[in-house]
């Protein structure tokens, strides 16, 4: 009986799972001997759905690929279409898009903080961070008309101009975040309990991280400085000053600290955007009407840096108003299968949620 393995399913209905997926665990006592990821609980077939819609119609579906941060999807989709049809957007629209990306990044990190702290039983941090995320969503509501699915970044620019006094309110919110971050340090990042639980857990091998194509915090938490915004700048990121934070621990704690530093960098970027944004400029280029918006017979790959790592879209047109093929490359597939299955072996059962949250896995994006 001592060596008998017990099989349990961690998810899909489990508070410690990041969305609708499950991990099949073979346990020897409390120790995991084998882990297998199972998805299929959330299949919505986005890529196929998009092929059946016109360019304009498809734009409204891409944000639903990832609930915590829909904006990198919209950005990628818009940039792919613009690349294919040769649309150049104004500087003002570019700055607004960068602002949306960075606001989305902070909101996503706040949501992550709630999940990561909840995975080890720290409810208070989640209450604080979700409230703070809501403050960003309030601004999104004002800007785009929607709180979660913004449907704002559009091929050719953005759909609405900034409301009166918006940048001032954003600036006030950034001041609030500047004051709030040390409080998060006190209750979460410097918390002895979190350090005890997260240090030395879920250690990723640095060479493996590069070979297997891990992205985002999984890579930067291993001390590898890689970020699409710096390596392959898009929009106006090449005009902005920011650091790519890295930590060398390769564990859950390092990945958490990278995220914390990224919030700080996003605030820095947003302040520069507020200063540098041109007061005038077309927010939306003239684009053909619904049925006349045709993509040329060509293909393109665009990538942007989401809060969880590189997010790429491959798009091919065939001369019609529909998209011939669209494929999404997100961080979740490689992190949810290869990385998670490897990291869980010989870990304790109580660390499953902790490790999973640190990797930024989003099941809808696996099952696109």
């Amino acid at each position: 009986m001592d060596n008998k393995l017990i099989k349990i399913y961690h998810g899909p209905q489990h508070p410690g799972i990041t969305g609708n997926m499950s991990v099949e665990l073979d346990l020897l006592g409390e120790t995991i001997k084998r882990a297998r990821t199972h998805v299929g609980y959330l299949h919505r077939g986005f890529e196929k759905l998009i092929e059946r819609r016109t360019v304009i119609q498809a734009f409204t579906i891409v944000c639903r690929l990832c609930v915590p941060e829909p904006d990198p999807n919209e950005e990628n989709f818009a940039r792919a279409v613009e690349g294919l049809v040769g649309l150049e957007i104004s500087d003002r629209a570019k700055y607004i898009r960068v602002m949306v990306q960075e606001m989305s990044r902070i909101a996503a990190q706040m949501l992550w903080m709630g999940g990561q702290s909840g995975s080890i039983g720290m409810g208070t941090v989640g209450q604080w961070s979700l409230y703070d995320r809501d403050l960003i969503l309030d601004l999104f509501e004002e800007l785009t008309g929607g709180r979660v699915y913004h449907m704002y970044t559009y091929p050719g620019g953005v759909r609405r101009d900034l409301p009166d006094g918006f940048l001032g309110r954003l600036s006030e919110l950034l001041d609030y975040f500047d004051k709030k971050l040390p409080k998060y340090d006190s209750i979460f990042f410097d918390n002895a309990t979190f350090k005890q639980r997260a240090m030395g857990v879920g250690v990723i091998c640095k060479d493996e991280a590069l070979q297997n194509g891990y992205v985002g915090q999984a890579l930067r938490g291993c001390g590898i400085k890689r970020d699409v915004r710096r390596d392959n700048p898009y929009l106006v990121y090449d005009k902005l000053e920011f650091e790519i934070p890295t930590y060398d621990g390769c564990d859950v704690y390092s990945r958490a600290m990278v995220r914390r530093a990224e919030i700080k960098e996003s605030i820095k970027i947003l302040r520069q955007v507020i200063e540098q944004m041109p007061a005038e400029g077309l927010i939306m280029q003239k684009i053909p009407k619904h049925r006349k918006f045709k993509l040329p017979k060509d293909d393109i790959y665009v990538a942007s840096e989401s809060a969880r790592g590189e997010f790429g879209y491959y798009m091919a047109g065939d001369g019609s108003e529909k998209i011939r093929r669209m494929q999404v490359k997100g961080p979740s597939l490689i992190h949810g299968y290869t990385l998670l299955e490897n990291l869980l072996v010989d870990e304790e059962l109580s660390n499953v949620a902790l490790i999973m949250n640190s990797l930024g896995i989003c099941p809808p994006e696996i099952e696109r």
């Binding site: 409204t60 509501e141 699915y149 759909r159 006190s186 209750i187 410097d190 002895a192 309990t193």
Partner: protein, 131 residues
Amino acid sequence: MNFNTIDIKGIVAPFSAIGKVFEHPKTVCYPDQTKVVSEGYRGFHTNVLADCIGCANCQEICMNDAIDMVSIDEDRNDRNKSGCIPRIDYGRCCWCNLCVDVCPPDSLKLGIECIQADADSNNFLYYPKDK
């Protein structure tokens, strides 16, 4: 036990959260108090029937098939040759605003009302009227 390695700051600092007890609550008591939505919020549709020309552009662009054009007898203006106005199925609508973007006379808009509760599912088939 080596006391030099004990993370005193890490043990004591989280207790700073107790200070929150003395702050004013951030939550509102729904439904007595409700959150005021922004001016540009994407809520339920409104349609100025005096302007609607019944062109069905909104129906054509809607990828969720949430819009039907239904014929009306009253409130119809002279320019509305088809005699139809849009009816929105809020079981299917995703509030993408594309129907509003393509409305030639700008009669269709999204208002800020966003709460609909009813036991009858047919009441989610909604005829936007003048606001």
